[in-house]
């Protein structure tokens, strides 16, 4: 504020100087003899008017300006020093007389002080201008530089000359504030307490008086606020503390925590307003801090005692208040954050423990998402989205998602989440729009991020993806790719590498089919059937878990196999193809009925059915020797054809023993002309789940070994513990590795000579290039 004023002053000052010099040119700038007492008498009369803000006519002002100049350059001796001393004397007397008036008006001390201060400080500014020449030519030249002040020892600062404005303020400080300070501060504090009690106070006076402590040090660049702080602020803060300690005590008796918080928040905001009304901006935070200490920090136990109930009963308004108050004190929020975390965790665990019925995966995922979105919404709206609470939400959700339903078996969540995604990505989805499916898949990533065992999820996900891709029942390839990309974003390229390869295999296969058909045409060959193939990359597909039954390829397909083998060998070097019968299927048309049916069936079913092209009746033994199918697999597939009424078991026995004779049902009818014989996909057995978990363990070992190699290659030599830590931090994004597994992997890598125990230190390893 006063900087602004200074700027204005300067502008005025220059204007005056210009007119002064214009005058001088007409008169004389030359030093001349001057009678000091006569000239001083004129100056004194004017100065008296200036300091009391009486009217001073412009010409008089200009003359005095010249008089100051004349004294400063007087001949033979400049009279500047004398002028300075006389002015100082005058100001001292003036202030002393003002002090007497102010001091005697005890009832009205503040108002009187304020009135005179307003007048005096303004007048001092004008005087400073009037003495412009003295200031710039005499005082500034004698003044010690900042460097002198910093390094010059033993300089008596009292002897320092001051510019007239500064001198005036200094005199005010010495002769007015110093003797009056006890009373002044006492009364200020009383007035402010009145204001706190809701009584009327004069803001302009209080602010003006308080501000005079700062203003009076205007020229003191280094310790501008020192007087204000020593004289007033320190006492004020003590008083504030005392006052609010009492208030807090008063509020505490007979009120609920909720009411207490409401009142406190009101008082805090009132006090902030009050600071702005009366104080220097440098005090705002200190006052607020003091109040927070008295209202919040002193009563933390009381406030904390309320957190448990408040959070559990979801009293939003109280939570908002509690947050507002507790965040202001160091470590105040910790307990509330913990309560919120516990509450979310309890709510979530409760929600997922209540799920029953068929659709466990969907119920699980949607319960977790519901809890997550409910609390994240609450944190955003009620707790300002504070990072500490978001962190608590994350911790709680992670505990919920990774909780084990049964301590003896591995956590179900990764499997359920994968199944949930499978349900969404399968074409059969019940009446959900594309964007709905998309939204739900996006949301599933929220749960995914909380999974500890992401690799278990990946294992199940890839199995289901394989099924969807091979059976061609994905909603769309775009949706599949989008989901793989989401997982990639969440967990990295390596994580989705195999999923990507599966996806790519399917796309590349389309290319193979096209090229193969062209190749066939070029070679003038024909298969006579519609042939379509997926060529999968071994290793990328999770197919090796169940041992499929062997199968003699039906005659009708031999050419297809032979031709495609030739085609593939021509195109690729060093690759061999293995036909995965358990995954093939085909379409067969019936030719023996009036109506022609098109039947979709599995490769095994097809192999059985096609045998009947050669004979009307076949025994189980004959079928077995032709197809070479394993007994169990054969029985199931024949049974499925019997169940579909395509084949008739002529013996009528339940058991399909080798002697049982079968024949085609020549009277077969079906309402549909195109249908599918339900394939005997076994339900996912407990065994399969176990196998999946075992496979995950194998993958983990490989992953850990790769991680160790990577780390060791970069670091060359590493202590055992550091290596373990690095490995854990690198793999945490996927799973939490057990220390014993890491140790085993290190041993294996030592055996394989990737790394070696260091010769220099016992617990150190080195990388072998």
């Amino acid at each position: 504020m006063y900087v602004e004023r200074n700027k204005n002053l300067h502008q005025k000052h220059f204007a005056q100087q210009a007119s002064f010099w214009a005058q001088k040119i007409t008169m004389s700038l030359k030093p001349r003899r001057v009678d000091f007492s006569e000239t001083w008498g004129k100056i004194l009369a004017t100065v008296r008017g200036v300091i009391t803000l009486s009217k001073v006519p412009r010409p008089t002002w200009n003359d005095r300006f010249s008089d100051v100049y004349a004294l400063c350059v007087a001949y033979p001796e400049p009279l500047a020093e004398q002028l300075y001393n006389e002015t100082k004397n005058f100001l001292e007397q003036h202030v002393q007389s003002l002090y007497k008036i102010v001091n005697s008006s005890l009832d009205n001390l503040l108002a009187t002080y304020h009135a005179y201060w307003q007048e005096y400080s303004k007048g001092a500014e004008y005087m400073n201008q009037l003495y412009g020449y003295l200031n710039s030519q005499y005082i500034r030249k004698q003044k010690l530089s900042d460097a002198d002040l910093a390094y010059g020892h033993g300089i008596d600062l009292d002897e320092q000359l001051m510019e007239i404005g500064e001198l005036a303020l200094d005199i005010w400080r010495r002769l007015m504030i110093e003797p009056l300070k006890g009373n002044l501060v006492q009364q200020l504090l009383q007035e402010i307490e009145k204001d706190r009690e809701g009584e009327q106070t004069n803001q302009a006076i209080l602010h003006g008086v308080i501000n005079s402590f700062v203003h009076v040090e205007e020229y003191n660049k280094k310790g501008l606020l020192k007087l204000y702080q020593d004289l007033f602020e320190k006492r004020f803060l003590e008083e504030t503390g005392r006052y609010y300690r009492k208030e807090a005590g008063r509020y505490l008796t007979g009120t609920t925590c909720s009411e207490y918080m409401e009142k406190v928040i009101q008082r805090l905001s009132d006090e902030e307003m009050r600071s702005r009304k009366f104080l220097h901006p440098s005090s705002y935070d200190k006052v607020t801090h003091e109040c927070q200490q008295r209202f919040v920090a002193d009563h933390l136990r009381f406030l904390h005692g309320e957190c448990h109930d408040m959070v559990r009963k979801d009293r939003r308004e109280d939570m908002r208040r509690m947050y507002t108050l507790l965040r202001t004190v160091h470590n105040g929020l910790m307990l509330m954050v913990q309560e919120v975390e516990d509450h979310i965790k309890e709510t979530g665990l409760d929600a997922i423990s209540n799920i029953t019925g068929d659709n466990l995966p969907t119920q699980f995922v949607e319960s977790v998402l519901e809890v997550h979105s409910r609390f994240s919404h609450m944190i955003q709206k009620t707790l300002s989205g504070d990072q500490q609470f978001i962190c608590a939400l994350d911790k709680a959700c992670s505990s919920i998602v990774n909780s084990r339903q049964d301590q003896r078996s591995p956590c179900k969540s990764p499997e359920w989440l994968a199944k949930y995604c499978d349900m969404l990505l399968k074409r059969s989805t019940k009446g959900m729009s594309e964007s709905e499916v998309d939204d739900k898949l996006s949301a599933s990533i929220t749960v995914f991020k909380y999974l500890d065992d992401k690799d278990v999820y990946q294992k199940f996900y890839s199995k289901m993806l394989a099924k969807r891709l091979i059976q061609g029942n994905s909603v769309s390839m775009d949706a599949e790719e989008a989901m793989i990309n989401r997982l990639k974003q969440a967990c990295g390229y390596e994580f989705t590498n195999k999923l990507h390869r599966m996806y790519t295999d399917i796309n590349v296969s389309a290319e193979h089919n096209k090229k193969f058909n062209e190749w066939m045409r070029e070679n003038k060959e024909e298969l006579g059937i519609h042939f379509n193939i997926y060529v999968l990359q071994a290793g990328a597909w999770p197919l090796g878990l169940t041992n499929p039954s062997p199968l003699n390829i039906p005659q009708e397909l031999e050419k297809s196999v032979k031709m495609f083998d030739m085609f593939y060998k021509e195109r690729f070097n060093g690759r061999k193809l293995t036909w995965l019968h358990q995954l093939c299927n085909g379409e067969v048309r019936t030719c023996f009925l009036k109506k022609s049916y098109i039947i979709t069936l599995s490769m095994y079913q097809m192999a059985v059915l096609l045998l009947f092209n050669g004979s009307d009746k076949l025994t189980m033994a004959e079928i077995q020797s032709s197809t070479q199918m394993a007994e169990g697999e054969l029985g199931k597939n024949v049974q499925s054809l019997v169940d579909a009424k395509l084949l008739i078991n002529l013996d009528g026995k339940e058991q399909l023993t080798p002697n049982v004779v079968l024949t085609v049902n020549v009277e077969y009818t079906n309402k549909r002309t195109k249908f599918k014989i339900p394939a005997l996909y076994q339900k996912e057995t407990v065994q399969e789940v176990e196998q999946a978990h075992k496979a995950v363990d194998e993958d983990r070992k490989l992953y850990l070994q790769a991680a160790i190699v990577r780390i060791m290659k970069a670091r060359k030599a590493l202590k055992h513990n550091t290596l373990i830590q690095e490995v854990i931090s690198q793999s945490r994004a996927r799973f939490n590795p057990s220390i014993s597994m890491i140790k085993r992997c290190i041993e294996q890598l030592i055996n394989k000579e990737y790394i070696a125990r260091s010769n220099d230190a016992a617990d150190e390893y080195t990388y072998i290039a």
């Binding site: 059937i529 060093g574 690759r575 085909g586 050669g614």
Partner: protein, 102 residues
């Protein structure tokens, strides 16, 4: 399969067939045509990339190499090996590349 047809099998005309095959959706898996699934140098399956390539995310480039002795390894494992000893680690014959997978 000739015997399954019995008396009328091979002689029967297509028109007399009870079932005619319309469409076959086949699934096959490709792998490197190797005698041993595991690379003897790095002890990782040849269908998977070797550990060094896995560590550097170069799975796609990690192919198999066959020597004249018909033994096969990861190409990158073998190229490191021959710098020290130009013999097949399995049979100690001099290492001559027969073919490289693609």
């Amino acid at each position: 399969m000739a015997d399954t047809g019995g008396d009328n099998g091979p002689g029967k005309k297509a028109a007399d067939k009870m079932f005619s095959l319309k469409k076959w959706n086949a699934v096959a898996m490709w792998s490197w045509d190797v005698e041993c699934d595991t690379c003897a140098i790095c002890r990782v399956q040849v269908m998977d990339a070797c550990l060094r390539c896995q560590a550097e995310n170069k799975q796609e480039d990690c192919v198999v190499v066959w020597g004249e002795c018909n033994h096969s390894f990861h190409n990158c494992c073998m190229s490191l090996w021959v710098k020290q000893n130009n013999r097949c680690p399995l049979c100690q014959q001099e290492w001559v590349v027969q073919r490289i997978g693609k």
